[in-house]
Amino acid sequence: MMMANSIRQEPSAKTGERLLDVKGLTIEIETRNGPATIVDGIDLHVDKGETLGIVGESGCGKSLTMLSMMRLLPNKIKVTKGEANFAGRDLQKMSNSELRRVRGGEVGFIFQDPMTSLNPVMRIGQQLAEPLIYHRGMSKAEARKRAGELLKLVGIPGAEDRLDAYPHELSGGMRQRVMIAIGLACNPQLLIADEPTTALDVTIQAQIVDLVKDLRDKLGMSVVWITHDLALIAGLVDRINVLYAGTVVEDAPVDALFANPSHPYTQGLLASIPKLSDERSTRLSSIGGTPPEPGRRPKGCPFAPRCPLAEAICHDRVPTLEGLNHDGAHRVACFVAQRKLEAA
C-alpha cells in the first residue's frame, strides 16, 4: 500500500498537485451494541482542477466520508482514525472555528434536496449573502450585488428580481441552481456535490450537470461528485472511485474504468445497467444478495459474500488497493484481479 502510493504517478490530474488527501479514515457510529465501523480506513484524493466521481450504492459510505470529514454529521458518527488533508492542513486537527472558515469558504457544498437545505423563511438573496458576509467580510450592499451576479451565473432568469423570493416560490430545478450559487459564493477551491440531481427530472438533471461542467471549467475548481449513477458522471468526471461497504474497491481514470472495470463489484454494477444494444427481455446480470450492514462486516473482503469469483483468501484477508498498470493510475482492491494481472 505504502509502496503503491510512493511509486504512483498522477494520471489524469491536470496539475498533479493534491488538494484533498484522505488517508486511512475510519468512521464509526455509536449503536446500542457499541461502536460499528461504517467506513474502514478509506484512502482517497482529489488533485487541483480535477473532478472525482465517487460511486456506490445506498449505505456504502460515499456521502458519510465527505460529510464527517467536514464535521457535518451528528456526534454519534465519529472519525476515529486517519487524516484528511485539505490544501496541506489536516481537517481533523482543526478547531471548530478554523473548520467553519473552510466550510462554505474554500469548500463549497451542494446537497441532494434543496428544499431541506435552504431555509424556508429566508429570502434567496439573504441566504446567498450570508456566506459572503461571513467569509468575505462584505457589506450587505456588496453581498447583495454579488448575490445577484451569482444567480445570473447559474442561469436563473430575471436573477436580480429573484433575490427577494422565498425557496417555495421556485421550482425544484431553480432551487437546485440557488444551492449551486450558494456553494460557489466564495469561489471555493473544492466543490462537493452530494447527489445533486437525484431528486430532479431527467431534463432538469441534464441542465444541472451541464451547468456544473461549465462553471468548473470557467472557475477552475476541483469537484467531488457523489452519485449512485455511473452513466450520469461518465461525461463529467476525470477519475472515479467505486465504494463498497466503506472502502474504495477501485480507483481509475474514467475511460479505463468503463473500458476495463477490474473489481467484480464494478463489473457487476456496470453489467446491471440496461444497454441500448440489449434485446428486449434479455436477462440483466445482477449482483445477488445485499451489502453488509454496519457492524456486521465480514472478516475478509467486504464484497466476498456476494462475489462470484471469491476464493478462500477473500474470506480471510482484506485486500488493499494496488496498481493494475505500470503507472498505478488504475488501482483495484481484489486478490483475484491482482493475481490475474501477475499471471498475464
Partner: protein
Amino acid sequence: MMAAQPLMRIEHLVKHFHVRLGAFGERAATVHALDDVNFDIFEGETLSLVGESGCGKSTTGFTLLNLHRATEGKVIYQGKNIVELDEKAMRPYRRQLQIVFQDPYSTLNPRMTIGEAVGEPILFHKLATKAELKDRIATLLADVGLPPRFASRYPHELSGGQRQRVAIARALACQPKFIVCDEAISALDVSVQAQIINLLLDLQQKYGLTYLFIAHDLAVVRHISDRVGVMYLGRLAELATREELFEHPLHPYTKALLSAVPEADPAHERSRKRQILQGDVPSPLSPPSGCRFHTRCPIAMDICSKAVPEWREARPGHMVACHAVTEGLLG
C-alpha cells in the same frame, strides 16, 4: 405475443383534481392531471408510460384501476366500463387488476408478518381454503425468489429488494391478469433493481401477465417494454413500439427526453451534443393553451399555442400529437 384484441381500452380519459389554494384555502382551482388520454393495452405486453414529475403517468395508473374516480372518459375491460363501477361491483375486477407501488415499506403493514400480508388477499378473494393457505404462500414466496421461512418475518427485517419481492408476491396472490407497476423499481439500488426487473420478466412469461409499467428511468423502460408512451403535463405526446420510439422519435419532447438520458460511455458522453430544454414544466393548475409543450418547444409555431394537436397515427402503430409532425415538417 400480442393479441389483436386489447385487454383494456382507454378512451378520452380525463382526471381533474379540485384543490383549494391560499393560506386559508380561499381560492378554488383545478389540477388538470389527465386530459383526453387514449390508448389500448394488449394482452401479454409491457406498456410503459414515461415522463417527468407531474406529467400524469401515475394518475393514469390509478385512474384506470378506478382507484381515482375518473372525471370523464371510459376504461373498457372485459366489455365493461370499469371506471363507472362502484366499489362493490368493482370487486371481481380488483382481483384481476393489481398494482405494485414504489415504496414497499409504506405499503406493507409493519405489524403483519410476510405470510399474513401475502395470505390476506388469498383469503379475501377466497382463492384457497385455510388448509391450503400455507402451501399457497410458500409457492408465492418461491415465485418471487424468497425462501418459505420468510413467511414468519416482519417487513422491517427485510431489505428494500426483499420487501419489493413481497409486494410483488402480494399482487400475484390474486392470480391477476394485469399489474400496474408504479415506479416499482425506482427506489432500489442499481444491482437490486436488475434482480427485480429480471423477476418481473420471468413472472410475465410464467403467468402471461400484462404490465403497465410507470417509470422515469428510460434505460430501464427501453429494456423491458414492448411499447412506450410519453406523457407531458397530463397528455400523451407519443406512443409507439420500443424500437420505433427509441430509434425514430417524432415528438420534440420525446427527442429532448431521450437526449437527456446519460449513457454509460465516457467518450460518447463527452462528445455528445445534448438538446437541453429550457425552463421547467408549467403548472398543471393552468396548463398552456394549445399544445402544452409549446412554451418549451424548440420548434413551436403560431398554431401550437392556439390549437390542441390531434392524436393521430403518423406511421403504422406510431401515435403522436404534434402540429409539426401533422404538417409534415418533422419525421
